[in-house]
């Protein structure tokens, strides 16, 4: 082609790039208030409406896809469907524990202005990140109408309450600080489950001496967060509940020797446990349920993980009190209920807001909460829900939950206290500690991490409310 025509092509190319670029920029930009979608979207892509006009829908995003959780959420769907038979439920389960993948999907949907009717979220700072982005509507009305506001522990209110409004409706409460152990091994060695850290170390020592083929403590570090369960229990023992909350909201003064001491002691204990060979060495290749499997099969004696392990044991046919057993840990000097809360939200611009509100009201119903949590393995958030759970572990949970509401504090690993941005680096730091324990270096890096990820500023909300 002649030079003139080539330059026409180049010019056309540049013009097309500019048009496409500018158009894409404005189309993808989420500016002022999200537009409210008033008519059903009729495409058949997942997560969008697929019905004819006249039939209501509930587009719901959640991450309960594992065994036990799946049946639990389906029970809730069943109750909802019985109550509102003309509302079609469009579930969008996105596998990935703790909602890591759900968040990625939600980020794009919410910023594009096509929110679902409701989605699952954790509480605290996690929930607040949606509120700060302006994607959620307050649900005060639901809390008041269903009486939820009067029947939950104060801390549960605190982690759902921001800027003067409630933004989530809790559905289930798990307890994180459980110690599960293989009953047969303990019986064989005549051991009692430990209630303090010195007792724990003694038990580990005994197991290591008498049964060298059994690892005292199982650990699954494939997803890195499991070490935090052990560390949190140690921190609770050495520092107590108040210190725990201060630590995870960035308020521990790392320049003050006395203030850092509990962290130091916890890390030193962890270092001892690693160096003395009490912890399963190939933890990097196991997921959390594989670490529980180690205990179930007798290859390890104990595992520190929440009461969701109960679901694993029961689903695989192990009998409580015979094959396995569990105790809260630590029990002295202060026993604490480390709470993990799952909530559902009401996005702004939800296509079927009415259906979503009905769903949220159902979640706040004591009987529905009981039905759901009975299958899930957790306990109901409401203090006036039925309590006849089939196993003793949950009965113990409920008892402690009701008798000591001020000792019910949020667990760290789900982004309730410290935001997830900090936690991800924190998990990596603790994972490094497991492979190469170095207490001083870790404390130094921790202090830098708290500052770098602005934990203190971002958790002002936790301390400023009454």
């Amino acid at each position: 082609m002649s030079p003139v025509k080539t330059s026409y092509l180049v010019a056309a190319f540049i013009i097309i790039i500019i048009i496409v670029g500018v158009g894409a920029f404005f189309a993808g930009r989420a500016t002022a208030p999200l537009k409210t979608i008033t008519s059903p979207i009729t495409s058949s892509a997942p997560g969008t409406s697929t019905t004819s006009p006249g039939q209501e829908e509930l587009i719901i995003f959640h991450w309960w896809t594992a065994g036990g959780e799946k049946q639990a959420i389906e029970k809730l769907f069943q109750i909802y469907h019985e109550k509102y038979p003309n509302i079609k439920i469009v579930p969008n389960p996105i596998p990935g524990g703790g909602g890591v993948n759900l968040k990625a999907v939600l980020m794009s949907r919410l910023s594009a202005g096509i929110p679902p009717d409701t989605f699952q979220s954790l509480s605290g700072a996690e929930l607040k990140s949606y509120v700060d982005a302006g994607y959620l509507q307050p649900v005060d009305q639901i809390w008041k109408e269903t009486g939820l506001i009067n029947h939950v522990p104060p801390l549960l209110k605190k982690v759902s309450y921001f800027y003067g409004h409630f933004y989530g409706v809790p559905i289930s409460v798990h307890r994180a600080n459980w110690l599960w152990y293989n009953k047969k091994i303990f019986d064989q060695l005549g051991l009692k489950p430990p209630t303090t850290v010195p007792e724990l170390l003694q038990v580990c020592k005994t197991i290591k001496e008498k049964m060298p083929n059994v690892w005292p403590i199982a650990l699954g570090m494939r997803e890195k967060w499991e070490i935090v369960f052990i560390f949190d229990d140690l921190l609770l023992y050495y520092g107590g509940p108040q210190y725990y909350q201060r630590f995870y909201t960035g308020r521990v003064n790392f320049n003050n020797q006395t203030d850092v001491k509990p962290v130091e002691e916890a890390l030193q204990t962890l270092e001892t446990m690693i160096k003395d060979g009490y912890i399963y060495p190939y933890s990097a290749s196991l997921t959390w349920d594989q670490s529980v499997a180690l205990v179930a099969h007798g290859k390890a004696a104990m595992v520190f993980i929440g009461d969701f392990a109960l679901g694993y044991f029961l689903a695989n046919g192990y009998k409580p009190g015979v094959d396995f057993d569990g105790v809260p840990f630590p029990q002295k000097p202060t026993e604490v209920f480390l709470m993990i809360v799952d909530e559902f939200t009401l996005p702004k611009g939800a296509p079927h807001e009415d259906a979503a509100i009905k769903w949220l009201k159902l979640l706040a119903d004591p009987q529905a909460e009981f039905e759901f949590t009975k299958i899930k393995g957790s306990i109901a958030p409401r203090l006036d829900a039925p309590t006849n759970y089939p196993d003793k572990f949950r009965q113990e949970n409920v008892k402690f939950y009701r008798e000591h509401p001020n000792l019910v504090i949020p667990m760290s690993a789900h982004g309730v206290l410290a935001p997830l941005a900090f936690l991800r680096d924190y998990f990596d730091l603790m994972a490094q500690f497991v492979t190469q324990p170095n207490v001083d270096q870790t404390i130094h890096q921790l202090s830098q991490l708290f500052v770098k990820d602005m934990v203190k500023e971002q958790s002002e909300w936790y301390w400023s409310q009454s």
Binding site: R29, A30, L106, M107, Y135, M221, E223, A284, A431, Q432
Partner: protein, 292 residues
Amino acid sequence: MKASYRYAIIFLTPLFFILGILYFMTFWTIYISFTNWVGMRPNYQLAGLKWYSYMLSSDKFWVSLKNNLLWLVVFIVPTAILGLLIAYVLELYIVRGESIYRTIFLYPTALSFVVTGTLWAWIYDPANGVINSILSRLGIDTSHLGWICDPNIATYCLIAAAIWQYTGFAIVLFQSALRGGYLKSIIEAALVDGAHGWRLLWYVIVPNIRSAFVIVAALLAIFSLKVFDLVYVMTQGGPGISTYVLAFYMYMATFWKEMVSLGAAISVVIFALSMIIIIPYSYYALKRWLMK
């Protein structure tokens, strides 16, 4: 003349359209890396080099960079050499069933990385995996062989899995080069002269297979910079942070930490590294093309 010009516009417009979006997205990402987008809502306010300094001050970044460079060297060289050797054997020494062997070698390349990663994670498992089971049966003490649970050798284990997967790809590329007219006639001449085996490979083929080698190296280099799936499935950057790579750090920063500007800054680094590799290759290829 006029008719072909019109056809050119019709056929090229969709391509320009897609290229337009691609280039726009690249520049958009570079722009985002200078903003302060943290959290769920896009934030386009400029924040200068804030996230670049955050990135440079995080030890994960330097570990990732080191690992990516490690991948570049330790992945490309064995894959290319193995590819050439096996292609040579298949092309010149195996007469019957040659296509069957080639298919067998090519199977792993057809697997998704998730499958490869899961498979090799099981193979490498120190307690129950295939490698340690076989070794302990042979009487070797495997308690010190942690494979992907050992922070010192974990990356090499991942690279080994990638070499397994991509050798077939290199074999196919080298075989097609060996069958190309120019090289084929040189080889036939050498065979007539009595060269075979090692001499044929070293003195005849290797000096003349440069263009195929450059193609293989460039494609494998792009893969090394983009590697994510294997790391995500096998170790999630662990144990500790020893197998972190830039693409995984970028994913983690964007979707798990919700620091989107940080993720954009990391992607700019990946982009810059790719440019360093692609530009010499493009220059080389363009020069050869213009010479013909």
